[in-house]
């Protein structure tokens, strides 16, 4: 057990810090949250800066155009960028964390050459078309059909909750390529396609979130032709391809946000000190407990990352454990914030109120807490399959 960093890791951190200190002041002003083209330009611009400085796809393998960094270096990167107040990955999220790694692992050389460099450069934005109106938690029951017609699939159906759909160039799309019957259980018969968002037959209808913003959208697919060469992995093997990616996502997807939680907590303590709420022992102790929770989330992350490092980069089951605790803590943090801030808690113009609202999605998005508990119970604890 060792929490000390190697000389290489310390050097990496120092170089990164220096670069951030030099670069962040040159960033343009943040766009308004409702300004989608502005957000895309901002996020892609940041990705371009990372790319030019040699930080693009840090944890991707080198043969996929990444930097081949160790999980620990990736952790340091996420910690330092958050600490320095650098932008989030934003519009690049699906490309960098999801579609890219999937194509890197399962794609043909042509597919890798076509799609990976623009993701790393911040030239192309991806979205994730998995969920459907009737297939959320039960993702494998999706119904969007893809019928082979010559060298193309003809895709019809609809997707929902697709984040960033309005500004995306590509969609990682799960489609049904074989009907469900006795021979083909629903997990088979699914294929993974890269679909251009400007293809004829694609309609995006933004959905308004409870925060009043339009973070995600419905995507209607009406006989959209997607070349067969855009299929990653074998036909009907898309479920496995997808699972490869999901396992990579959870270990580190929230690192920056754990650092942010600690920062929010410190800001709250200072605010409480200034406005007198600090004298309330119940509230003060609640903030103290949240500090313990932040510490645990951070240590859990370090634990998962060093486990991944030992086992050759494949994150273990710790991701579900982490996500369950993190999503709950994050919501408790903002509830405590409301107590500290009093009347400001009802002022939707406050930035942290928007954060409070957005924290409500954490127990739902990327697998609900109930689904995570099913995973922990059945896959980690080995309990019999439930119903």
């Amino acid at each position: 057990m060792d929490l000390a960093f190697t000389q290489d890791e310390e050097d990496f951190r120092r170089r990164l810090r220096a670069w951030l200190a030099d670069t962040l002041p040159k960033l343009p002003d943040r766009p308004h949250p409702a300004d989608w083209p502005g957000r895309r330009a901002y996020d892609c611009g940041w990705q371009r800066m990372l790319h030019d400085a040699g930080y693009a796809g840090l944890h991707w393998p080198e043969d996929a155009g990444g930097q081949g960094a160790t999980p620990t270096q990736h952790l340091i990167f996420l910690e330092e960028t958050e600490r320095a107040g650098a932008p989030y990955v934003g519009a690049g999220f699906v490309g960098l964390l999801h579609a890219g790694p999937t194509i890197a692992a399962e794609g043909t050389p042509e597919q890798r050459a076509r799609w990976l460099p623009p993701i790393l450069r911040g030239d192309e934005v991806w979205c994730q078309g998995f969920s459907e109106p009737d297939a959320g938690s039960d993702l494998a029951s999706l119904r969007t059909r893809a019928v082979r017609d010559g060298d193309a699939y003809v895709v019809s159906g609809s997707k929902i909750w697709t984040s960033h759909a309005e500004i995306a160039d590509w969609c990682e799309l799960l489609v049904r390529t074989a009907p469900v019957n006795a021979d083909t259980p629903k997990h088979r018969g699914i294929s993974w396609l890269a679909m251009p968002m400007d293809a004829p037959g694609v309609t995006v209808r933004p959905l308004r979130t409870l925060a009043g913003t339009a973070e995600f959208a419905e995507v209607f697919l009406d006989e959209v032709r997607v070349p067969v060469t855009h299929r990653v992995g074998e036909e009907n093997d898309g479920w496995r391809v997808t699972m490869v990616t999901l396992s990579f996502e959870r270990g580190t997807a929230f690192v920056g946000e754990v650092v942010a939680c600690r920062r929010v907590l410190e800001a709250l303590a200072r605010t409480a000190k200034a406005n007198g709420r600090w004298d309330d022992a119940v509230l003060r102790r609640r903030l103290g407990r949240l500090a313990a929770e932040c510490a645990a989330l951070w240590r859990l992350t370090q634990w998962n990352v060093s486990e991944a490092q030992r086992t050759g980069g494949v994150p273990g089951v710790g991701g579900s454990v982490f996500k369950l605790r993190f999503s709950q803590v994050r919501q408790e943090l903002y509830d405590a914030a409301a107590e500290v801030l009093g009347a400001d808690a009802l002022d939707a113009g406050q930035e942290w109120v928007a954060d409070r609202l957005s924290s409500l999605s954490y127990t739902i998005a990327a697998g609900t807490s109930q689904i995570q508990r099913n995973i922990v119970a059945e896959r980690i604890l080995g309990l019999p399959k439930g119903r």
């Binding site: 929490l3 000190k273 951070w298």
Partner: protein, 373 residues
């Protein structure tokens, strides 16, 4: 950064687990508990000296004592792993106080007391009395009713006062202490009178020199202050390690039961309500593990406070959930679940309380020192 157990640490953990399975199997725990039988007296729960010596001989109290002083020469992480196993096995006795006292045998650090050398070998049973760290009684009163575990079985007491660290004969403390009916049948408890230290010290002086072994007293008050603070932190961490072991054990007990017990034609573990209880138990145990291990590495007061807080919570709440998973069986004396819960309650009250840990962590939020995050 390699925040995983080394091969040596894994081997140590396995070794301690096997040792405890041999020298303190469940049958012995049950025999002890069934004799104590809840009438509160220390009858059945007296400490088994042979067991204690065996633990001493195996090095349980000496893991952190340098080899030059007859110890194993390892560090806090190793002690934490061993104490996690002790918690898992519900090993009774003042393990933490004896381990800390053994650590005082380090030459040079203190005028080494004989108690310390005896503690290293498991020849002495040393319990503890924490009188709080309030320097000024006007700030905060000296702890009114500190509880001491296993006092009747103990040879000596490690007393941590605001400015003094002492190891004194157990009789001196026993004179001003009353037994209470301990909720945990395997942990007899005494309640001490306030301002005991001062009175004990007078009493100590009056005892005949050949009976009273020399107390361990550091040379200067400021050193005592630092030493007391360090011992309190380590005590909190080792207690947290035991809570972690217990929390992990109750996950196993719940999962085993959920796989075996059938209702409505299937194992209850196939019901999601049961699955989710078990999943949350694992989340608590693993969250606690990550901070307890990190605190063992960093020895940082904030990490230790977080470790004690979350390990207490994990032990207590996991025991409750485990009880629920066991149904009516869980409410019986037969199942071990209640023993885990009761011990977890005792340990949650020892050393750093939840309130104290939360206050310490809250204060840390306002400090300007850069934290790990």
């Amino acid at each position: 950064m390699d925040f995983q157990l080394t091969d040596d640490q894994r081997a140590l953990r396995t070794g301690v687990r096997e040792l405890l399975e041999r020298c303190f199997p469940r049958t012995r725990l049950r025999a002890m508990v069934d004799m104590a039988d809840g009438d509160g007296a220390e009858r059945g729960a007296g400490l088994d000296r042979a067991l204690w010596r065996g633990l001493g001989a195996a090095g349980l109290f000496a893991l952190r004592v340098p080899e030059s002083a007859g110890g194993v020469g390892l560090g806090l992480p190793e002690a934490v792993l061993a104490f996690e196993e002790a918690g898992r096995a519900l090993l009774p006795g003042p393990l933490v106080a004896t381990e800390l006292t053994a650590g005082l045998s380090v030459p040079g650090a203190l005028a080494a007391g004989e108690w310390a050398a005896d503690a290293v070998r498991g020849e002495a049973v040393v319990t503890a009395l924490d009188e709080g760290d309030a320097l000024d009684e006007r700030d905060a009163p000296v702890k009114e009713d500190a509880l001491v575990e296993h006092l009747a079985s103990a040879d000596a007491v490690l007393v941590l006062g605001p400015t003094a660290v002492e190891v004194i004969a157990a009789e001196a403390v026993a004179r001003s202490a009353e037994p209470i009916r301990s909720v945990d049948p395997a942990t007899p408890l005494h309640r001490t009178a306030p301002y005991r230290t001062a009175r004990c010290r007078t009493a100590q002086r009056r005892t005949a020199p050949e009976r009273a072994r020399p107390p361990v007293v550091p040379p200067g008050a400021s050193e005592a202050l630092g030493l007391a603070a360090r011992l309190r932190r380590e005590a909190a961490l080792l207690t947290a390690a035991q809570q972690l072991g217990s929390a992990c054990r109750t996950v196993e007990l719940a999962v085993d039961h959920a796989k075996r017990r059938t209702q409505f034609g299937r194992p209850i573990g196939a019901f999601q309500a049961v699955q989710h209880l078990c999943a949350q138990m694992l989340v608590r145990a693993e969250s606690a593990r990550s901070v307890v291990y990190a605190a063992a590495v960093t020895e940082d007061p904030g990490d230790i406070a977080a470790a004690k807080l979350l390990a207490d919570e994990a032990a207590v709440r996991n025991a409750r959930d485990c009880l629920q998973v066991h149904g009516g069986m869980g409410f019986t004396w037969e199942a071990d679940v209640h023993l885990h819960l009761k011990r977890a309650w005792v340990r949650a009250g020892q050393w750093q309380s939840a309130a104290a840990a939360e206050e310490e962590l809250a204060a840390g939020l306002l400090s300007t020192v850069e934290t790990c995050l």
